[in-house]
Amino acid sequence: MIVQFKLSAIRQTRWHEYLVRFVLNGAMTIVAGLIAARFGPVIGGLFLAFPAIFPASDLDRKACPGTQGESGPAGSAPRQGSRGARCRRSGAWKFRIGGFRPRDLADDRAVFCRGPRPRGGVVARRRGARMAGAATAVEG
């Protein structure tokens, strides 16, 4: 994995997104301090590890690298919410737990980052097709 530093990505983030992050997390830091003052260091310490950055990061509108949404093609606004955040989230943990691997996320990243989310019926059909393909492969 080659890590790249892309400074121009900062300009793609809108100022109000930084403002929301700043205000939300500044407020959360105050709340953590108030909890420590009111309930003591044991409970207060827990809130120092509160996942404040995580929900706030979901407010951005970026999509994944290599897709149309990243640079914002003319006339198309990326869907509000989270495809970029979903991709970023996949790096937040590195262990295999309960049969769910980070690699699964990497495989699905292209699906997450591409266009609107498929409806339930479409997902079911895709799963059915995948299972049928797997059955065929096993039988073959």
Partner: protein, 115 residues
């Protein structure tokens, strides 16, 4: 009041800085590591140390370890909610907070006999 003002500024700046760093790095699977950065702790521990002394900070640090385990469980839950249940990211991150609270408070009660 000044203390809480400092906390607000330090917390906002630390988190925004980590988020901006995450934005600039590629691939995103690496940049996501900065979503788990202890930004609130970095922002406040120094202030707490100067105000309340080392024993208070040491106890907070011990609880932070429990909070970090809860954060790991929270992150895993968010991934599952997104991938398996196809929730929106806002709904997933908010719903998974229940897991964070349950594990953080439950383990604290079990380990530290609190309250």
């Amino acid at each position: 009041m000044l203390e809480y003002g400092l906390r607000f500024l330090a917390g906002g700046i630390a988190v925004s800085a980590f988020a901006a760093l995450g934005d600039t790095l590629r691939p995103k699977s690496f940049a996501g590591l900065f979503g788990a950065a202890p930004s609130i702790a970095l922002a406040t521990l120094l202030i707490t140390l100067s105000r309340k002394g080392a024993p208070f900070v040491a106890m907070e640090g011990r609880s932070m370890i429990v909070g970090a385990f809860a954060l790991a469980a929270y992150s895993w839950t968010v991934c599952v909610l997104l991938k398996k249940f196809l929730l929106s990211s806002w709904a997933a991150t908010m719903a998974a907070l229940v897991i964070w609270f349950a594990i953080a408070l439950g383990v604290s009660v079990a380990l530290f006999r609190f309250p």
